[in-house]
Symmetry: C2
């Protein structure tokens, strides 16, 4: 394998000159550049990235961290889609992606420590934000460049992050349900340790209280962000003496589970109960009925997070930024107006 020295020899220059040619240093004469480049071609020379990284202290790679249940997480199309966005933006800036994975929280923590201490990446994108996250603490202490996709649990102004306004989005969809006549609205959320769950719950609560509707604890259920999660939740809710007529589900995949369970129980959507959810993954359009959901622009979330981390890698002194990606409620067939007359009858 040809090295810089071989090229130097062939072009009859010093290795440093070759190095400068690679960096396209303007102080090298065009004639020399020409000669060196020819030598590189004829030897099939390619710079060794590892060696370069070592000398430069930079790897041109960014690390991606999935939530601790990464195993399962990947089943939620949210993650592939953010990664697709990250991938796109990273590529534009010539950065590569590096993923370390693990099953338990410990494993993934160790993986990140290795990425960071081992200097395998220049920066990190966290694809989740959870309450009292050890990783966030670690990265901050190390002063290692990172951005969060989502809202940091604390120190919101000191951590660069890319997020939706989940509070607002959740408030909006809940208001939508209220506007069309629903009064018994339940919330099915994911892991309460995830900030996104909290935000969506708060938005829901705000809308409910604003409308002067009672905020009942029995109407709040939490399950994992997975299809199976939704199913448990449904059983609980519809065992209630006064079951809800509308559901705010914090994630499309869960909503799909909810739909399935509802179907099994003979509860019709949207005739008997309306459902709204979040993310607008492909399945939301595909489900039966198609889901009214909040499009949170997952892809863009990914793009912006990559741009952000690259920015903070290249200009480390800049202050932390917050980027809010716009959302949009996509209305489909999972909601139906609740006729108050009909309600009285029941």
């Amino acid at each position: 394998m040809a090295t810089i020295k071989d090229v130097a020899k062939l072009a009859k220059v010093a290795p440093s000159t070759v190095s400068r040619v690679i960096a396209n240093n303007p102080r090298i004469s065009d004639r020399t550049k020409e000669r060196v480049r020819e030598a590189m071609k004829s030897l099939g020379y390619h710079p060794n990235f590892i060696a370069r990284s070592l000398a430069n202290q930079s790897t041109q790679a960014i690390g991606i961290v999935l939530p601790s249940s990464a195993d399962k997480a990947f089943q939620n199309p949210f993650f592939p889609e953010v990664i697709r966005g990250i991938s796109k933006a990273a590529h534009q800036k010539q950065y590569a992606l590096y993923m370390s994975t693990g099953e338990t929280e410990e494993e993934i923590y160790d993986g990140v420590v290795h990425m960071v201490e081992g200097k395998r990446v220049d920066g990190i994108v966290l694809l989740y934000s959870s309450v009292n996250d050890k990783l966030t603490l670690f990265l901050r202490k190390k002063e290692f460049p990172f951005v969060i996709v989502g809202k940091p649990f604390k120190d919101v102004n000191e951590i660069t992050h890319v997020d939706n306004d989940n509070y607002r989005a959740s408030k909006e969809v809940t208001e939508h349900l209220i506007e069309i006549g629903h009064e018994q609205i339940a919330f099915i959320g994911g892991d309460l340790n995830l900030v996104v769950t909290i935000d969506r719950l708060l938005g829901y609560e705000k809308a409910v209280r604003n409308a002067g509707l009672p905020y009942k604890d029995e109407y709040i259920v939490h399950e994992e962000f997975l299809k199976e999660g939704g199913q448990e939740a449904v059983k609980e809710l519809f065992g209630l003496s006064e079951p809800p007529t509308a559901l705010v589900v914090a994630d499309d995949l869960m909503a799909v589970g909810v739909l399935k369970m509802l179907f099994k129980m003979g509860i019709r959507v949207p005739e008997d109960v309306s459902v709204v959810s979040f993310n607008n993954i492909m399945m939301a359009e595909l489900s039966q009925p198609p889901l009214t959901t909040v499009d949170i622009n997952i892809f863009q979330l990914g793009c912006e997070s990559a741009r952000s981390i690259i920015q903070t890698i290249e200009y480390p002194m800049e202050p932390a930024r917050r980027i809010i990606i716009p959302h949009k409620v996509v209305k489909r067939q999972s909601c139906k107006a609740r006729d108050t007359a009909e309600l009285k009858e029941a």
Copy 2:
């Protein structure tokens, strides 16, 4: 940031000794090991992976290559799922994943060349196999360790790969359709440059010919492996004077598109037309009606490919292997027996 030298100084040994302690070299006395380890702890030392890579000529990372339309490919749950498998197996062996991406075929080719020449990875997993693939050629010429998920277009015995028996699987599902009385069976395939498409087409053809049914060119349609792809195909087929009564669709995502289009056109599944497809992604279960499909064990495909590449990295001289992951037809509600009497009537 502490280096091996700092540790050496603190422990009052030579750097080389520290290095040996890291490698847990048995020829270092326990006393010294102890001292060195304490020094490492107290300095918060972590080995620098880049430096180690340079000295070792190994990175403990494996590169993942998505098909050239990687951008879109990621939308097909197949890829996240293989990656999940790869990820799992790679983690077990302490390998990290490295992804370079690109939109065009050129970009991705260059990306791989960089990975390889720049020595950023120890081996590569190709997540597709296409006819006359430039990358395969390149990797073989470089004698760089790689495995293909899928069947190599040529030199099948010289390239380690992990695949399903797609020919057989396709033959099986087609035979299933024939057994339940279908005679007009069409095939909707993906890109004909993909070996997997070819295999599935051949299996279909074999079954059709074995049964003595006519093999009509009009019944063979090719589209991209995407939801939209399926839709075009349907229009073509059902514009025929003798439209098919059953469809073999080469990919679940396409099948979903097919279903959607069929629905729009008022053609009922499975009453008017039966549909089978491949992969058994989550959506297949979710679609309306749920799809009869071939479960190809995507996750396992990923695991095995990772194990394989690690194997060939660590034991480079071993001969090429082929690993066939078993498949299984999962029968759901998209197929219906075709009553021959009814057929006569029509």
